[in-house]
Protein backbone atom coordinates (compact mmCIF):
# COMPACT_ATOMS: atom_id res chain seq x y z
CA UNK A 1 0.00 0.00 0.00
CA UNK A 2 1.51 3.30 -1.07
CA UNK A 3 1.79 6.29 1.21
CA UNK A 4 2.64 8.67 -1.59
CA UNK A 5 5.87 9.61 -3.27
CA UNK A 6 8.01 9.93 -0.16
CA UNK A 7 7.47 6.50 1.25
CA UNK A 8 6.95 4.60 -1.97
CA UNK A 9 10.36 5.55 -3.37
CA UNK A 10 12.34 2.54 -2.20
CA UNK A 11 15.82 3.90 -2.88
CA UNK A 12 15.59 6.29 0.09
CA UNK A 13 17.76 4.75 2.74
CA UNK A 14 18.67 6.38 6.03
CA UNK A 15 17.47 3.84 8.57
CA UNK A 16 19.56 1.56 10.75
CA UNK A 17 19.65 -1.90 9.18
CA UNK A 18 20.43 -5.18 10.86
CA UNK A 19 23.13 -7.00 8.93
CA UNK A 20 23.81 -10.12 11.01
CA UNK A 21 21.32 -11.62 13.41
CA UNK A 22 22.40 -13.53 16.48
CA UNK A 23 21.01 -14.59 19.80
CA UNK A 24 22.11 -12.94 23.04
CA UNK A 25 20.71 -14.67 26.16
CA UNK A 26 17.58 -15.55 24.20
CA UNK A 27 17.10 -12.06 22.70
CA UNK A 28 17.28 -11.50 18.98
CA UNK A 29 19.90 -8.81 18.41
CA UNK A 30 21.58 -7.53 15.30
CA UNK A 31 24.94 -6.30 14.11
CA UNK A 32 23.74 -3.11 12.41
CA UNK A 33 25.37 -0.78 9.95
CA UNK A 34 26.02 1.53 12.92
CA UNK A 35 28.40 -1.06 14.33
CA UNK A 36 30.15 -1.38 11.02
CA UNK A 37 30.65 2.35 10.57
CA UNK A 38 31.67 2.84 14.22
CA UNK A 39 34.33 0.14 13.78
CA UNK A 40 35.61 1.80 10.62
CA UNK A 41 35.77 5.16 12.43
CA UNK A 42 37.65 3.56 15.33
CA UNK A 43 40.04 1.82 12.96
CA UNK A 44 40.84 5.11 11.22
CA UNK A 45 41.39 6.84 14.57
CA UNK A 46 43.62 4.02 15.82
CA UNK A 47 45.81 4.00 12.71
CA UNK A 48 46.01 7.79 12.88
CA UNK A 49 47.01 7.83 16.53
CA UNK A 50 49.58 5.05 16.15
CA UNK A 51 51.24 6.89 13.26
CA UNK A 52 51.14 10.22 15.13
CA UNK A 53 52.51 8.63 18.31
CA UNK A 54 55.37 7.00 16.35
CA UNK A 55 56.22 10.37 14.86
CA UNK A 56 56.34 11.99 18.30
CA UNK A 57 58.50 9.24 19.84
CA UNK A 58 60.88 9.43 16.92
CA UNK A 59 61.14 13.21 17.25
CA UNK A 60 61.78 12.87 20.99
CA UNK A 61 64.47 10.22 20.47
CA UNK A 62 66.29 12.26 17.88
CA UNK A 63 65.72 15.47 19.87
CA UNK A 64 64.30 17.31 16.88
CA UNK A 65 61.62 19.51 18.38
CA UNK A 66 60.43 21.14 15.17
CA UNK A 67 57.83 19.08 13.26
CA UNK A 68 59.56 16.99 10.61
CA UNK A 69 56.76 16.57 8.07
CA UNK A 70 53.48 18.02 6.93
CA UNK A 71 51.56 15.29 8.70
CA UNK A 72 53.24 15.95 12.05
CA UNK A 73 52.60 19.66 11.54
CA UNK A 74 48.89 18.90 11.17
CA UNK A 75 48.88 16.69 14.26
CA UNK A 76 50.57 19.41 16.26
CA UNK A 77 47.99 21.93 15.05
CA UNK A 78 45.17 19.61 16.14
CA UNK A 79 46.67 18.94 19.58
CA UNK A 80 47.36 22.62 20.12
CA UNK A 81 43.82 23.58 19.15
CA UNK A 82 42.36 20.93 21.47
CA UNK A 83 44.65 22.02 24.30
CA UNK A 84 43.64 25.66 23.94
CA UNK A 85 39.96 24.74 23.79
CA UNK A 86 40.14 22.57 26.90
CA UNK A 87 42.19 25.18 28.74
CA UNK A 88 39.68 27.87 27.82
CA UNK A 89 36.75 25.72 28.91
CA UNK A 90 38.06 24.17 32.11
CA UNK A 91 40.89 26.29 33.46
CA UNK A 92 42.71 24.58 36.30
CA UNK A 93 41.40 21.03 35.79
CA UNK A 94 42.25 21.02 32.08
CA UNK A 95 45.19 18.54 32.39
CA UNK A 96 42.95 15.96 34.09
CA UNK A 97 40.25 16.02 31.44
CA UNK A 98 42.31 16.77 28.35
CA UNK A 99 42.49 13.11 27.31
CA UNK A 100 38.76 12.55 27.71
CA UNK A 101 37.67 15.70 25.91
CA UNK A 102 40.18 15.24 23.09
CA UNK A 103 39.12 11.63 22.54
CA UNK A 104 35.49 12.69 22.54
CA UNK A 105 36.25 15.46 20.07
CA UNK A 106 38.16 13.25 17.61
CA UNK A 107 35.58 10.47 17.78
CA UNK A 108 32.50 12.66 17.35
CA UNK A 109 34.10 14.76 14.63
CA UNK A 110 35.12 11.76 12.58
CA UNK A 111 31.73 10.11 13.18
CA UNK A 112 29.89 13.21 12.02
CA UNK A 113 31.88 13.64 8.84
CA UNK A 114 31.90 9.93 8.05
CA UNK A 115 28.85 10.59 5.90
CA UNK A 116 31.36 11.89 3.37
CA UNK A 117 32.98 8.46 3.24
CA UNK A 118 29.67 6.88 2.27
CA UNK A 119 28.99 5.47 5.71
CA UNK A 120 25.88 6.07 7.78
CA UNK A 121 27.17 8.39 10.53
CA UNK A 122 27.33 6.42 13.81
CA UNK A 123 26.13 9.50 15.70
CA UNK A 124 22.84 9.33 13.77
CA UNK A 125 21.97 6.42 16.05
CA UNK A 126 20.62 7.25 19.50
CA UNK A 127 22.41 4.21 20.89
CA UNK A 128 25.73 5.96 20.27
CA UNK A 129 25.01 9.47 21.50
CA UNK A 130 23.20 8.48 24.69
CA UNK A 131 26.18 6.55 26.16
CA UNK A 132 28.46 9.48 25.35
CA UNK A 133 26.12 11.78 27.27
CA UNK A 134 25.79 9.26 30.11
CA UNK A 135 29.58 9.20 30.56
CA UNK A 136 29.45 12.98 30.92
CA UNK A 137 26.52 12.67 33.33
CA UNK A 138 28.48 10.21 35.48
CA UNK A 139 31.53 12.47 35.58
CA UNK A 140 29.37 15.51 36.47
CA UNK A 141 27.74 13.81 39.44
CA UNK A 142 30.92 12.09 40.61
CA UNK A 143 32.66 15.48 40.65
CA UNK A 144 29.68 17.12 42.35
CA UNK A 145 29.68 14.59 45.18
CA UNK A 146 33.45 14.57 45.52
CA UNK A 147 34.12 18.30 45.49
CA UNK A 148 31.15 19.55 47.53
CA UNK A 149 30.21 18.93 51.12
CA UNK A 150 26.77 17.32 51.60
CA UNK A 151 25.38 20.50 53.17
CA UNK A 152 26.57 22.57 50.22
CA UNK A 153 25.08 20.01 47.82
CA UNK A 154 21.69 20.21 49.56
CA UNK A 155 21.85 24.00 49.44
CA UNK A 156 22.65 23.92 45.71
CA UNK A 157 19.79 21.57 44.96
CA UNK A 158 17.30 23.86 46.76
CA UNK A 159 19.04 26.78 45.17
CA UNK A 160 16.67 29.71 44.54
CA UNK A 161 14.90 29.10 47.87
CA UNK A 162 16.52 28.73 51.31
CA UNK A 163 17.74 25.21 52.28
CA UNK A 164 14.98 24.64 54.84
CA UNK A 165 12.29 24.98 52.15
CA UNK A 166 12.99 22.24 49.56
CA UNK A 167 10.10 23.04 47.20
CA UNK A 168 12.48 23.64 44.33
CA UNK A 169 14.33 20.32 44.88
CA UNK A 170 12.32 18.16 42.42
CA UNK A 171 12.64 20.77 39.69
CA UNK A 172 16.41 20.91 40.16
CA UNK A 173 16.60 17.12 40.03
CA UNK A 174 14.56 17.07 36.81
CA UNK A 175 16.84 19.67 35.27
CA UNK A 176 19.83 17.51 36.26
CA UNK A 177 18.28 14.50 34.55
CA UNK A 178 17.49 16.60 31.47
CA UNK A 179 21.19 17.37 30.94
CA UNK A 180 22.24 14.05 29.34
CA UNK A 181 18.96 13.78 27.43
CA UNK A 182 19.29 17.20 25.82
CA UNK A 183 23.02 16.70 25.27
CA UNK A 184 22.52 13.44 23.39
CA UNK A 185 19.35 14.45 21.54
CA UNK A 186 20.99 17.63 20.24
CA UNK A 187 23.85 15.73 18.61
CA UNK A 188 21.60 12.89 17.44
CA UNK A 189 18.93 15.10 15.88
CA UNK A 190 21.43 17.34 14.12
CA UNK A 191 23.29 14.48 12.50
CA UNK A 192 20.09 12.57 11.77
CA UNK A 193 18.50 15.59 10.09
CA UNK A 194 21.55 15.95 7.85
CA UNK A 195 21.49 12.26 6.99
CA UNK A 196 17.77 12.28 6.21
CA UNK A 197 18.08 15.42 4.10
CA UNK A 198 20.90 13.96 2.00
CA UNK A 199 19.06 10.64 1.65
CA UNK A 200 15.93 12.46 0.46
CA UNK A 201 17.88 14.51 -2.06
CA UNK A 202 19.68 11.49 -3.50
CA UNK A 203 16.64 9.25 -3.36
CA UNK A 204 13.99 11.58 -4.78
CA UNK A 205 15.93 13.57 -7.37
CA UNK A 206 17.70 10.67 -9.04
CA UNK A 207 20.02 11.74 -11.85
CA UNK A 208 19.37 15.46 -11.17
CA UNK A 209 21.35 15.09 -7.96
CA UNK A 210 24.80 14.89 -9.50
CA UNK A 211 27.58 17.24 -8.52
CA UNK A 212 25.75 20.08 -6.80
CA UNK A 213 24.79 18.14 -3.60
CA UNK A 214 28.51 18.47 -2.73
CA UNK A 215 27.67 21.98 -1.50
CA UNK A 216 24.96 20.52 0.75
CA UNK A 217 27.44 17.95 2.03
CA UNK A 218 29.72 20.79 3.06
CA UNK A 219 26.89 22.29 5.13
CA UNK A 220 25.19 19.19 6.53
CA UNK A 221 28.24 17.02 7.13
CA UNK A 222 31.22 19.30 7.60
CA UNK A 223 29.85 22.55 9.05
CA UNK A 224 26.99 21.16 11.10
CA UNK A 225 29.06 18.19 12.25
CA UNK A 226 31.99 20.33 13.35
CA UNK A 227 29.73 22.81 15.16
CA UNK A 228 27.89 20.05 17.00
CA UNK A 229 31.17 18.39 17.97
CA UNK A 230 32.43 21.68 19.38
CA UNK A 231 29.15 22.28 21.20
CA UNK A 232 29.10 18.79 22.72
CA UNK A 233 32.67 19.13 24.02
CA UNK A 234 32.13 22.73 25.17
CA UNK A 235 28.97 21.83 27.13
CA UNK A 236 30.65 18.77 28.63
CA UNK A 237 33.53 20.95 29.81
CA UNK A 238 31.22 23.64 31.16
CA UNK A 239 29.09 21.18 33.11
CA UNK A 240 32.08 19.32 34.55
CA UNK A 241 33.97 22.42 35.59
CA UNK A 242 30.90 23.95 37.20
CA UNK A 243 30.33 20.67 39.08
CA UNK A 244 33.91 20.85 40.30
CA UNK A 245 33.21 24.34 41.60
CA UNK A 246 35.87 26.19 39.67
CA UNK A 247 34.00 29.10 38.13
Amino acid sequence: MGYGLLLSADNIDFMVHGLVEYSFFGHKVYITNTHVSILIVMLILMVFSVIAGRGFTKALKEEKFAPQSGFMNGVELLVEFLMNTVKGGMGKSAPIFFNYIATLFCFILLSNISGLLGLRPPTADYGVTLPLALITFTIIHYSEVRFNKPAQLWKDKCSPLPPWLPIWLPINIISDIAVPISLSLRLFANVLSGTVMMALIYGLLGWIATGWPAALHVYFDLFSGAIQTYVFCMLTMTYISSARGEN
Binding site: M1, Y3, L6, M15, S182, L185, R186, F188, A189, N190, L192, S193, V196, I227, Q228, Y230, V231, M234, L235
Partner: protein, 83 residues
Protein backbone atom coordinates in the same frame (compact mmCIF):
# COMPACT_ATOMS: atom_id res chain seq x y z
CA UNK B 1 -15.35 3.79 16.36
CA UNK B 2 -12.83 2.14 14.02
CA UNK B 3 -10.29 4.07 11.97
CA UNK B 4 -8.26 2.46 9.26
CA UNK B 5 -4.49 2.65 8.83
CA UNK B 6 -4.49 5.30 6.11
CA UNK B 7 -6.62 7.70 8.14
CA UNK B 8 -4.29 7.40 11.12
CA UNK B 9 -1.25 7.85 8.92
CA UNK B 10 -2.79 10.94 7.36
CA UNK B 11 -3.41 12.38 10.82
CA UNK B 12 0.19 11.53 11.75
CA UNK B 13 1.40 13.43 8.70
CA UNK B 14 -0.65 16.49 9.74
CA UNK B 15 0.82 16.17 13.21
CA UNK B 16 4.33 15.98 11.75
CA UNK B 17 3.68 19.17 9.80
CA UNK B 18 2.44 20.90 12.94
CA UNK B 19 5.45 19.69 14.93
CA UNK B 20 7.88 21.31 12.52
CA UNK B 21 6.32 24.72 13.34
CA UNK B 22 8.64 24.48 16.36
CA UNK B 23 11.33 25.70 13.96
CA UNK B 24 10.01 29.26 14.17
CA UNK B 25 11.31 29.86 17.69
CA UNK B 26 14.93 28.82 17.14
CA UNK B 27 14.93 30.71 13.84
CA UNK B 28 14.00 33.96 15.58
CA UNK B 29 16.38 33.26 18.44
CA UNK B 30 19.32 32.47 16.20
CA UNK B 31 18.62 35.57 14.16
CA UNK B 32 18.68 37.72 17.29
CA UNK B 33 21.93 36.08 18.41
CA UNK B 34 23.51 36.61 14.99
CA UNK B 35 22.37 40.26 14.92
CA UNK B 36 23.85 40.97 18.33
CA UNK B 37 27.01 39.11 17.31
CA UNK B 38 27.34 41.33 14.26
CA UNK B 39 26.80 44.42 16.41
CA UNK B 40 29.44 43.22 18.87
CA UNK B 41 31.97 42.64 16.07
CA UNK B 42 31.18 46.15 14.80
CA UNK B 43 31.92 47.65 18.21
CA UNK B 44 34.99 45.54 18.91
CA UNK B 45 36.49 43.98 15.75
CA UNK B 46 39.50 42.69 17.70
CA UNK B 47 37.38 40.16 19.60
CA UNK B 48 35.91 38.61 16.47
CA UNK B 49 37.09 35.07 17.24
CA UNK B 50 35.67 34.97 20.75
CA UNK B 51 32.39 36.54 19.64
CA UNK B 52 32.04 34.05 16.81
CA UNK B 53 32.60 31.01 19.01
CA UNK B 54 30.27 32.26 21.76
CA UNK B 55 27.60 33.09 19.19
CA UNK B 56 27.82 29.71 17.49
CA UNK B 57 27.68 27.91 20.84
CA UNK B 58 24.59 29.85 21.89
CA UNK B 59 22.92 29.32 18.55
CA UNK B 60 23.57 25.59 18.66
CA UNK B 61 22.04 25.39 22.12
CA UNK B 62 19.05 27.46 21.04
CA UNK B 63 18.55 25.13 18.09
CA UNK B 64 17.72 22.24 20.41
CA UNK B 65 14.02 23.03 20.80
CA UNK B 66 13.57 23.19 17.04
CA UNK B 67 15.32 19.86 16.71
CA UNK B 68 12.92 18.34 19.21
CA UNK B 69 10.08 19.34 16.89
CA UNK B 70 11.93 17.84 13.95
CA UNK B 71 12.51 14.65 15.90
CA UNK B 72 8.81 14.34 16.74
CA UNK B 73 7.95 14.89 13.09
CA UNK B 74 10.41 12.20 12.01
CA UNK B 75 9.07 9.76 14.56
CA UNK B 76 5.52 10.37 13.32
CA UNK B 77 6.50 9.97 9.66
CA UNK B 78 9.00 7.12 9.71
CA UNK B 79 8.55 5.14 12.91
CA UNK B 80 4.73 5.44 12.75
CA UNK B 81 3.95 4.87 16.43
CA UNK B 82 0.19 5.14 15.96
CA UNK B 83 -0.33 3.10 12.82
Amino acid sequence: MEFNENFIFGCSAIGAGLAVIAGIGPGVGQGIAAGHGAAAVGRNPGAKGDIMSTMLLGQAVAETTGLYGLLVAMLLMFVKPFV
